[in-house]
Symmetry: C4
Subunit: 506 residues, 4 copies
Amino acid sequence: MNHKSTNTQSKKLTGAEVAKHNSRESCWVIVHNKAYDVTEFLPEHPGGPKIILKYAGKDATEEYEPIHPPDTLDKYLDGSKHLGEVDMNTVEKEQKVEDPDEEDRLKRVERMPILEQCFNLMDFEAVARQVMKKSAWAYYSSGADDEITMRENHTAFHKIWFRPRVLVDVEKIDFSTTMFGTKVDIPFYVTATALGKLGNPEGEVILTRGAKKHNLIQMIPTLASCSFDEICDAAEPGQVQWLQLYVNKDRKITQGIVEHAEKRGIKGLFITVDAPQLGRREKDMRSKFQDVGSSVQSTGGHDVDRSQGAARAISSFIDPSLSWKDIPWFKEITTMPIILKGVQRVEDVLKAIEYGVQGVVLSNHGGRQLDTAPSGIEILAEVMPILRAQGLQDKIEIYIDGGVRRATDIIKAVCLGAKGVGIGRPFLYAMSAYGLPGVDHAMSLLKAEMEMNMRLIGAASIADLNPNMVDARGLVGHGHVQTVPADTLGLTVYDSLKGPQEKSKL
Amino acid sequence: MNHKSTNTQSKKLTGAEVAKHNSRESCWVIVHNKAYDVTEFLPEHPGGPKIILKYAGKDATEEYEPIHPPDTLDKYLDGSKHLGEVDMNTVEKEQKVEDPDEEDRLKRVERMPILEQCFNLMDFEAVARQVMKKSAWAYYSSGADDEITMRENHTAFHKIWFRPRVLVDVEKIDFSTTMFGTKVDIPFYVTATALGKLGNPEGEVILTRGAKKHNLIQMIPTLASCSFDEICDAAEPGQVQWLQLYVNKDRKITQGIVEHAEKRGIKGLFITVDAPQLGRREKDMRSKFQDVGSSVQSTGGHDVDRSQGAARAISSFIDPSLSWKDIPWFKEITTMPIILKGVQRVEDVLKAIEYGVQGVVLSNHGGRQLDTAPSGIEILAEVMPILRAQGLQDKIEIYIDGGVRRATDIIKAVCLGAKGVGIGRPFLYAMSAYGLPGVDHAMSLLKAEMEMNMRLIGAASIADLNPNMVDARGLVGHGHVQTVPADTLGLTVYDSLKGPQEKSKL
Amino acid sequence: MNHKSTNTQSKKLTGAEVAKHNSRESCWVIVHNKAYDVTEFLPEHPGGPKIILKYAGKDATEEYEPIHPPDTLDKYLDGSKHLGEVDMNTVEKEQKVEDPDEEDRLKRVERMPILEQCFNLMDFEAVARQVMKKSAWAYYSSGADDEITMRENHTAFHKIWFRPRVLVDVEKIDFSTTMFGTKVDIPFYVTATALGKLGNPEGEVILTRGAKKHNLIQMIPTLASCSFDEICDAAEPGQVQWLQLYVNKDRKITQGIVEHAEKRGIKGLFITVDAPQLGRREKDMRSKFQDVGSSVQSTGGHDVDRSQGAARAISSFIDPSLSWKDIPWFKEITTMPIILKGVQRVEDVLKAIEYGVQGVVLSNHGGRQLDTAPSGIEILAEVMPILRAQGLQDKIEIYIDGGVRRATDIIKAVCLGAKGVGIGRPFLYAMSAYGLPGVDHAMSLLKAEMEMNMRLIGAASIADLNPNMVDARGLVGHGHVQTVPADTLGLTVYDSLKGPQEKSKL
Amino acid sequence: MNHKSTNTQSKKLTGAEVAKHNSRESCWVIVHNKAYDVTEFLPEHPGGPKIILKYAGKDATEEYEPIHPPDTLDKYLDGSKHLGEVDMNTVEKEQKVEDPDEEDRLKRVERMPILEQCFNLMDFEAVARQVMKKSAWAYYSSGADDEITMRENHTAFHKIWFRPRVLVDVEKIDFSTTMFGTKVDIPFYVTATALGKLGNPEGEVILTRGAKKHNLIQMIPTLASCSFDEICDAAEPGQVQWLQLYVNKDRKITQGIVEHAEKRGIKGLFITVDAPQLGRREKDMRSKFQDVGSSVQSTGGHDVDRSQGAARAISSFIDPSLSWKDIPWFKEITTMPIILKGVQRVEDVLKAIEYGVQGVVLSNHGGRQLDTAPSGIEILAEVMPILRAQGLQDKIEIYIDGGVRRATDIIKAVCLGAKGVGIGRPFLYAMSAYGLPGVDHAMSLLKAEMEMNMRLIGAASIADLNPNMVDARGLVGHGHVQTVPADTLGLTVYDSLKGPQEKSKL
C-alpha cells in the first residue's frame, strides 16, 4: 500500500514554479514543504475537488494538516506525483484575509479563564467554544439534524433519580473496576473521537498521556489525526489501548489494520456498527459553507453531497454492507475481544450474545448519526431487565456512551448494569482549550466527583451499586415527553409576578 | 359557465374616463389593462366591497392577480360589464405610499442567503420569512386560533423515537414506493396549498415542474392562483397529478370540475372534509388589517366577518352541508380513486372503509382549521393498531400530512403504517424564496436525508419499515403534556449557575 | 338599614373649614361635594385608617368612587356624621404629584389600537394592560400566591384535544342552550367580578347592556361598584340576571339581600363557597404599596394585614363559619334556584345533590383564592364520570368558570358535561379598554368562533357535543406535569443550531 | 480541650513587629486585636494554608470572624502560640483594593426596598441577592453540581394539588401542633444552617430571638458562627431548642458535645446522616475563586481539593464511617430524642424505626449534597403509605425539609403525613437583609398565609389535614418529567402570534 516517493531531486522547486499549476487542468499543491501533483487525484478526493482547488499552486499545509494522518499522501498518492521539496523562501506568503471573527477569537484566547476556574466538564466546553477555531468547534460540537438526540443524551441522565442509602461506612471508597480484564481507576474510558488536531496541534497523543496518568483505557479512533502507530507509540509500557474500527469496503485493508493492531498489543476491537454512512451535521456543514462558499454565486442546488463537513470527506471508504454475517470472519482474524459499538435495541444485544462477541456499546454515536435515536442510558434501562430475566447478564460486557458529564451520570449507568461508560467530547474540549493539563484536570475532577458521590449515595465500591439505588421510572416508557406548544398569546398577555422593586431614588 | 366578453371596441378607454367611476355608485376597476364595471358586483364580492372600493377608478391588477385564477372575471362577471382595453399610458401612476417595512424587506432580499446555505426544510422558511411580502407570509404561515395544532403537528414527530437495527446490509437503498398504483421516488407528495402566486408570480406550475423532476405526485388545489388547466398543461406527458376538491354548494359545478379533471387524466380525487368553513387565522387577519385598516376610525365592532384574510374571501362557495350521504354520488360520477382528506378519528376511518373510498388523509389542514385538533401522526398511531386488529389495514391507503420537515418524519409515518405523507408549506417557502431551484433543492435535501436515515435505521427498502422500529409510546395517551405554569417568583429569584468567567482585563 | 342624612344646612362648608380637620384626632373628608366626619369610624374602616388619613381634610372622591357602591356612606356612617355640602370652589385643588408612569399611560391611551384590531379575548387583555390605571390593572389581573392556579385555569384547556367528526351536515349551526330554564344564545354567562368602576366609570351596567344585546345572563356581584338596584334597573324588561352572594355574618342582612333580589326578579342565587376569607393577591398588594408606601420608612414588619388590596378591604363582613348546615335556611327564605359557586371536589358535588341545591359552579374563584387548587375543567372531568356512574348527571346543573378565552374552551367544557361556563375578566378588560363596544365586540368574537368551531368539530347543536368528541386523558391523573429543573450549565454551553445567515455585506 | 493562653504581657505588640512574620517560615496573624503564631498550624488548617498566608503579618479579623466560632483559637491553637495583644494604632491600615462590584452593592443597599415590600419568602431572597456580600450570597444560595435537586425541592410542591373542602366552618383556625412533645404555633421549625455571621454580624442568635417571638423551635447548627453556648444563652427561659450534630471522627468530642447539650436543656438531637463528606457547591467555589485566585497564574490542575468554599474548609472533622451500628451508642449517652436528619429512602425509614430512634427528617440537605437526590416531599409521599400499610405511622415522627416557601407547602407536607417541616435559607435571607425584623416579618407572613390557606382548604385545625385533601399523583412515579430537548431550528423559524399593535403614530 505504501508508495514511496521515487523522485530524486537535485534542487528545490520554487514557489513560482508551483504557482503556475493553479488550475483544474494542472493542479499542484504544497504540503509540509513538498509539492504534489494532484491533478488526476482531484475527482477522487473524498472531500471534493473544490477545497483542493482553493489551494492550487499554493501552500495547503495549514488546511491539510489536522484532517489527514501523516501517512496519507504516501498511502493514497502515487509516488510519481510526489514532486519533491520546495524552497519555502520563494513561496509567496498568502496575504491573509482579515477575519474579524478570528481577531475576536484571538482576543478571547488572551482573556481565557485559567484552568483552576474549570470546576466541571461543562466548563471546558464553555471555554473551548470561546477559544477554538470556528470550524474546529463546529466539527466537534455538531450533531445530526436537529441535535435532539445529542441533547437528549445528556438530558436523559436527569430523568434518573437516586435512592441514596445513609449510615453506611464510606470512609474508604474504591471505585476501580475492570474492563475486559484490565483494571482501571474509575469506570470510564476515553472513547474514540476523530480529528484531534483540529483542537490541538499534537492531536490524540495528548489523550494517550492523560489516560496513562489516570490509569484509564484510551480507544484509538480510525479517523485520528495522528497515525495509529503514533498513538500506540505514545503509550507507556503496559498501558492498555483499544481500537475503534470503521470497516473498509476492501476487507484486506481491514484485515491488515486488525492484525497490525493485535501485533501492537491492542486489547479490544470496537467495531462501529451505527455508521454505515457518516451523519449530516448541519452545524458543521454551515460552518464549512461560511468558510468557503459565502462569497460565491448560487449554483442552483447541485453539489448537495459535497463539502458536507470534515468527517464525511474522509469516510467514504466505510462499508455500508457490513452485516451480522461478517462477525464470524472477525472472530477468525483476531483473538482480541470483539465489541459492537453503536447497538441501539434489545434485539440486537441478544443477537450480539448469540454471535459470541464479548461486548456491546449502547450508543448513538454521540448524537451525530440518526436524530431521535434513543440515548444509551435509556437503552441500557430497557436491556438489562431482559438480560437478567434470561440469565444472560454475565455473558457480555455492556457499555454506554453519550452525554456523560458528571460522576453521577457514571454512577447511574453502573447502577443500571453498565460495566463502564465512554467519554469523548469533554476531553476534546479540555485538550483544545488547555492541552494535557486540561485533560488531566478534567479527569481529576471526575475522580473527585466520583469519590464524593459514591459516599453520598452510600456505596463504598462499584460492587455496591445496583438498580435498587436509582429510580429510573422517568426514563422508561414515560420518558419521552415533548410538551405541547404553549399559546403564545396567553403567555404574552400574562403579567408576571415580580419581587420587591428598589426605590427609584433616595 | 363562460361568459365571453361581447364588447367590441374601436378605441381604448383612457385613465381619466375610468377614474370618474370611483365610488360605490359607479365603480370601475382596471385589471390586466382592461376595465370592468363592478358596481353591481360589489355586494356579492366574497372578499367584501371594501377592498374593491380601495381601487375604484384605478388599476387593481397587483392586488387582484395572486388571489384570483386567470379565468375568474370571465366566469363570474357578466360580459356586459367587460368594458374593454384601457390605454395604460393615460392611467395615472399611483404614487406609492412609502412603506418602511417594504424598504427593509427589499434590503433583505438583496442580502438573502444563497441557495446552498439551505441545509434543511426549515431553512427555506427562515429565508422566506425575511424576503416574502408581509401579507403573503402571513397567509402561508398562519394557523387557527393559538396555532397550537399547527405547532403540535411538527412537535408530535419528536415524541416518536427510533429503535434502529444495526449490522444490516444497507449498501443499496431503495425508498421508492407506489401511491394508488403510481410509482414514486420517495413516499411523499406535494400537497395542495392555495394562492401560489402570493409567493411567486408563476404560481403552482413551479411545483408541477419540481414534482416532475423528482418523480413525485402533485396535488392540484381548488384555490390555486393558476387555473386548473394551466397546472395540468405544465405537467409533462405521463406525469401524474391529483386534484384536491372543495365541494361547491352547486353540485353541478362540482360535477363539472370532477369530470373535467378525469378527462385531463387526474389520478386521484382528494375531497377535503375538514373545512366546511375556512378557519380564522389571526396572524393573517392581523396582517390584512394592518394593510387596510390601521388608519381608519374604529367603527364599533361590526364587520367582524369581513376582510378576514385571503382564503375566507374566496371560499364562500364551499358547502358546509357535505356529508357521508354524498359519497355514493361521487363514486357514480367518477372512476378516479376517491380519498377523504382531513379525517381525524378512528371511527371516521372505519366509516370511510365502509363507504368504499380508496384512501384517507389523516390531517388537520396544516393546523389552519380547528385548534387543538390532534396531529395526523398521532391519529395514525391510534388508527393502525385498530385496523390491524380488524384485518382492515389493506382495505385502504392511509396518508398523513402536517408538520413534516425531515426524512425522519417521513420514515416514522411509514413505520407506523402510512403509505406516504403530504408536504405543503416547505415547498411554498422554497418557491417563494428561490423559485424552481429552491423547490428542486428542497426535494433533493429530503432525498439525501432519506437515503442517510434509511441506512441509519437499518432499512434497505420501504418494505423493511415497520412499527417495531419506532417507540411511539410518548405519543399515544401520554403525549399531550402541557406543563404546569412555573412560579415566576421562584424562577426570578433563582441565581443560575454560570460557567467560568473571562478575566476582566489582562 | 338606611341612615338618611338628617343634617339641614343653610350654607355650604368651605374648603378651609374642612381642611382644619386633617388628623387622626379630627378627620373630615369630602366625597361627592359633601363633607363627612369619619374620626370615630377610622378604626372600623375595613381598608384600615391609613388610606383615609391620606385624605384627611381633603377631597377623597376619586379614590373613594370606584371601590364603594353609591349607598355605602348612607348605609355605614351614622347620619350625624354627614356634615353637608361643601363649596367646591373654595377647596384647594390638590397639586397632583407628577407621575411619569401615568404620563406614559396617557400616551399609550392616545395610541391605543382601534377595536377592530382585537381578534380574540386575549387581545383585550393586551390592550387593557397598556391603557388601564396601574392599580386597577393590578386588582383585576392578580391571583393568589404564585398565580399557578390562575394560569393553570387557562392552560388546562390545552390538555384537552378534540376528536372531530367530519362529513356531518353543519350548514345550520344552533348553539343556543338553556340555563336553569332560561334560553341563552351561547353556553356562557357573564360571571360576577368586583369593582367594575376601577376599569370604567360607568361600572357593571355596561356588562348588563352587553349581556342583553347578546341574549346572555349576567351574574350581579355582591361587591359591584354600582349598587344592586342600579344594575337591575339597567336591565331591559325580560332580561334575566343572577345574583352572586357573599354571606354576611349578620344573617338578617343576607336575608334582606336575598329577599330583595327575589323581588327584583333575580333568577338564580349563586352562593360563593370558596371565599371564607378573601385571597392574598400579591400583585395587587404590591401595586397598592407602590401607591401609598414607597416613600415611607420601614416600620418593622407590623400592619401585615392592612392595606392588602381593594377586595380584602371591603370583604371583612364575609362569614367564614358558613357551612352545609346553612343550606336548608337558604332554601327556606327563597324560591330562586340555589347554586354553590366554588365547589372543588367530587365529594362536595355529591353533597350538593344530597342537599338539594339546583346547581354548582366548579371554580377556584379565578385563581384568586387558594393557589394550586385545580382548575374547574379538571374537576369537571373527574366529577362527570362519577355522576354518570351513579345516575346523578341530571339531578343538578354543573357549570365551570376560570380561564375560558376561546370558543373551543367552551365546547370542551360542554363536551365533558358542563351546562355552560362563566367568563369574567375578559369582559372587564374589554369594558376597561373600549367600554360597551368592547364588550359587544368580545361577545361577537366568541359567537363567531363558536359557529366556526362547532362546524369544525362536526356538531350542529349543543346536543351533539359529548365526551367522545374530546381526548381529555392529558388532563386527568397525568395532567399535573411540572418538569424537572433543567441544568443551566448544560443549557448555557449548548450552542443552538441556527438557520442560514444573511451575507454580511453585498 | 481548652488551651488557655498562658502568655503574660507587659506591653502590647506593634504592627511592625507582627508584619515581619509574613511568610510560610514564620507566620503571625492578628485576630480581634491579638497576635497568634500559626506557622506550625499552617499545614493543619482545614481551609488550606493559602488563605492564611494571604494575611501573614496582618490583621485577619474580618475574614476570620464569620466562619469561626469565637472559641476556635482557644480550642485548636496551643496557648504557647497566643502572642498577646497588639497596639492596633500601630498596625498599618490595609489599603483596600477598589472593588467596583462592592461599590455597586453598597449603592444597592442604600436603595433597598423597605421591609413592608416583602410579601412572601421569595421576596427576602430577591432582596438578599442584591444586598449581601457576593461570597456570603454564594455560600448560602449554592447547591450541589447542577443544582437540580435544590430547585426540584421547591418545584416538587407544585406537583401536588389541593382537593379543598368547602362549606366547612373555618371561623376559628388553630394550626398549632406539637413536635416531640413541645407545643409550637405552626408546624415548622427553624432548621440548622451554617455560618450565620456571613449574612449578619450577630449571627444565629437573631434566629433564636425570632423563634421565641413566634413560639417555634430553633435547631442549633454544629457549624454556627456563634458558639453553641451563645445560642443557648440567647434563648429565653422555657424556649425549646434542638441540636444538629455532625459526628466527629473522635467520638470523645462528640460525646462531650452531646452531654453538654443535654445539660443545657436541648430537647432533640438531630444527627446528620446525609453528609459523610460535605458537598461540592460550584457556585460557592467559583465565588471563592474570583475572590482569591483570579489574578494568579494557572498552576496546572493541582490543589483541586483546596479552597472549595467555606463549608468544606471547616468540616474535615466529620466522620464518613458513621453507620447504623453507632446508633445504639448514641442511645446510651443521651436521653434526648434522637432524630436522623437526611434519610432518603423507604428502607432507611423502616430501619430507623427498627433501631428505635424517635424521628427522621426526610431531607437532601437543601440540595447541597447529592444532585438528583429526590425531594423530601416526594420521599414522604412514598414512605407514608408503606408505614400506614404496616401500621408503623405512629412509631416515629416524620419531618421534611427543603424548598418550603409557602404555607401551602407546609399544608401539603402535613396532609401527606409529616409532623412538620424545617425551613432554613429563607430566614437566613431575611436576617441578612433586614436582621431580626426581617425574620419576624417572614414568620408573620407564613402565619398569615397559613391562616388564609387553612380556611381555603377547609381545615380548622392540623388534625383536619389528611391525604385525601391533596392530589399527589403528579409526584409519585410520574413526577420526574424532563422534557425532550426542543428542536431549536423549528422554534427559531416559528413566527409567534402577537396581540394588537399600537398605532405607529397619531
